[in-house]
């Protein structure tokens, strides 16, 4: 009896502790000197983060996501205490509509003036940039392993080449790949015309897909770096993060001449952010010309957004700003996304 009672007490005590842990666990990690960043994989160099931490004597927690949808789903699910995130244009408008963003106080951002007015004109997803600060304008392109493939045209038609069958890969990203096909056919990447979407679907499904090894948004850069594939549609920063620096000369990265969907990613402060002051400091820090140049150099990006940084850039660029002129910004297509979903499902399910 006595033993029984003791065990019972112990059980209850143990359980109480567990419950306390669950209840307090959620808020235990917030500290005033820590900035929580939720960013794309490979998007802000560690050196920039370290400089920011050092200059302001703060700590940065940097978590990553692989797609806008993933970022949005995680933030919507509410289990996060992030301060800044980096949505693409379509998601800025979605998050704005969903009332998830903090209005930007421009007076706290003296480096906002460094942003190219031409880029600001593109921000019709957030007119007047009330809620977002442009981070980077770019586009996915095609990386070619030139030790294996020498003669090729800088066009999406490279995916029609049967001699490269099973050595080519495209992103498992509906809007990107559909956008490439739509541009190749001469349509808008934001079309909602069913006939045009069907035509793009058939082009991918019947002409491109038979030559592809697979659709892959997670490991495409690793596959390319390991030589599993010779032609990869994807993001330059992912490709060059995986390919060893000594072999960069073997890689040709180009934006196909037909253009494709481009993206304009912005920095936004989340409405429930606990460290808004740090968030402002960080955004302003990024747009310092020397810091922005360091960011671009690290990834081989052209300085598409920050004007004074262009003169400070030293490194190689994988593509030039003018390569983006044929590209078109991806926009939120709202409920018409179902048309894309249906087309993509046909492509992905396969035989």
């Amino acid at each position: 009896m006595n033993r029984w009672l003791r065990r019972l007490v112990l059980n209850i005590a143990g359980f109480g502790m567990l419950a306390a842990l669950i209840l307090t666990g959620g808020c235990a990690r917030s500290t005033d000197k820590t900035l929580y960043i939720f960013n794309w994989t490979y998007y802000t160099p560690d050196s920039v983060i370290q400089k920011f931490e050092k200059e302001y004597g703060v700590k940065v927690v940097y978590d990553t996501f692989a797609s806008n949808e993933e970022m949005f789903a995680k933030l919507k699910a509410g289990g996060s205490s992030y301060d800044i995130t980096f949505p693409s244009g379509d998601y800025v408008s979605i998050m704005k509509k969903e009332n998830m963003l903090e209005k930007i106080d421009r007076s706290k951002l003296k480096n906002f003036a460094n942003i190219d007015p031409e880029v600001l004109k593109l921000c019709d997803f957030d007119p007047g940039n009330e809620y977002s600060v442009p981070y980077y304008l770019g586009a996915a392109g095609v990386a070619v392993n030139t030790t294996k493939v020498q003669n090729y045209e800088k066009s999406w038609s490279i995916f029609e080449r049967k001699d490269l069958a099973n050595r080519m890969i495209m992103l498992d990203d509906m809007r990107e790949v559909m956008g490439d096909a739509l541009k190749y056919l001469g349509y808008s990447v934001n079309t909602t015309d069913q006939a045009q979407i069907d035509q793009a679907r058939d082009l991918i499904n019947n002409v491109w897909k038979p030559n592809l090894l697979k659709f892959d948004a997670e490991a495409f850069a690793k596959s390319f770096a390991a030589g599993e594939v010779w032609v990869a549609q994807g993001y330059a920063e992912s490709i060059f993060a995986e390919v060893d620096k000594s072999r960069w000369g073997e890689v040709d990265f180009f934006i196909p001449k037909e253009g494709g969907p481009s993206y304009l990613d912005s920095m936004v402060i989340l409405k429930n952010a606990k460290h808004k002051d740090l968030a402002y400091l960080f955004i302003d820090f990024i747009h310092r010309p020397e810091i922005y140049a360091e960011f671009c150099d690290y990834f081989g990006f052209p300085s598409t957004v920050n004007v004074p940084a262009r003169a400070l850039k030293k490194g190689e660029m994988w593509y030039r700003p003018e390569d983006l002129t044929a590209c078109e910004l991806k926009k939120d297509v709202g409920a018409d996304l179902e048309k894309y979903n249906a087309a993509w499902q046909v492509i992905r399910v396969g035989k």
Binding site: E70, F72, K214, V229, N341, W344, K351
Partner: protein
């Protein structure tokens, strides 16, 4: 008094299951019957759209493919695990052999998947040898198809089948095999007609332990599979993270959970039959017999 104490002891376990299993399951059920939000999430409005969308031929095709891959992989796993379990049970250094089966578990499963790419990839170890033997050949593409997915799934879940098979075979009275031979059975017959019926519970456990996780596989088809290897696990993830259709993801999850649960129940229910011919080798039965104070 004693009765009530027993209940109290199981209380933490019951609460654990309620909070971390039943409650999330209820959320999934609820979500599957709601209208999908335009940008992910759900609208608080009853809808059967998700279940109607599941009847889509492409989803049914993926379900059929998933079932086929799971059945083939499970059968192959058991066929390989059976002799393994048998040899471990009969060996004199069981501990070392069991240890060797468990060691791969210490490595992260993603690393083990990438190891297969390093071995069988287009630029992998085997293809290096092929190109060395036959210079100028393009090599063989082993990966990025359904058979590669089956191969790696069998590899991943083999220990889950070996361990329960070992534990039942270990309890098997091997003199019964000699008795069968004395009574005129061939060596093969002694295995099929005496050993197999007696280790049935181990076979069932091994089958469930491999089939159920394989049916929900996600990472292996994603990394090892190609254009033809899209499975239910991948559809669920994509509906949630890419196409923003949470109710559909929930409905598919529900159907998968429900059908595997029904499968487990069916298997559990039909066990008592023929039991009188079988010398009880069920570890759980043995345990409860020993544990009843």
């Amino acid at each position: 008094m004693k009765q009530r104490a027993g209940f109290l002891y199981t209380l933490p376990q019951i609460l654990w299951l309620l909070v971390f299993f039943l409650a999330p399951l209820c959320i999934i059920i609820a979500y599957s019957f709601l209208k999908k939000g335009l940008y992910g999430g759900v609208e608080p409005q009853f809808s059967l759209e998700a279940y109607q969308a599941m009847a889509n031929p492409s989803i049914l095709m993926v379900a059929w493919r998933t079932l086929r891959i799971s059945v083939i992989a499970t059968i192959l796993t058991i066929l390989i695990a059976l002799p393994c379990g048998y040899s471990i049970a009969r060996s004199s250094n069981q501990a070392i052999r069991l240890f060797l089966v468990i060691v791969p578990f210490w490595t992260n499963f993603l690393v083990r998947i990438y190891a297969w790419i390093a071995i069988l990839g287009n630029e992998g170890f085997i293809n290096d040898i092929i190109r060395w033997v036959a210079p100028g050949s393009a090599g063989i593409q082993f990966l990025y198809n359904q058979w590669a997915v089956v191969l790696v799934l069998v590899y991943m879940y083999l220990p889950y089948a070996i361990l329960p098979l070992f534990s039942t075979i270990d309890k098997f009275d091997f003199t019964l095999l000699d008795a069968a031979r004395d009574l005129g059975a061939t060596r093969f017959q002694s295995y099929t007609r005496v050993l197999l019926p007696n280790i049935r519970s181990g076979l069932v456990t091994a089958g469930l332990f491999t089939f159920v996780p394989i049916f929900g596989a996600y990472a292996v088809p994603l990394l090892i599979g190609g254009k033809d290897s899209y499975m239910l696990g991948n559809i669920i993830a994509d509906q949630l993270t890419k196409t923003r259709n949470w109710p559909l993801a929930s409905a598919i999850s529900m159907t998968v959970t429900l059908s595997t649960t029904i499968l487990v129940f069916l298997v559990a229910l039909r066990k008592p039959k023929e039991q009188k011919w079988v010398f009880d080798a069920d570890p759980s039965a043995a345990m409860s017999a020993a544990g009843g104070r």
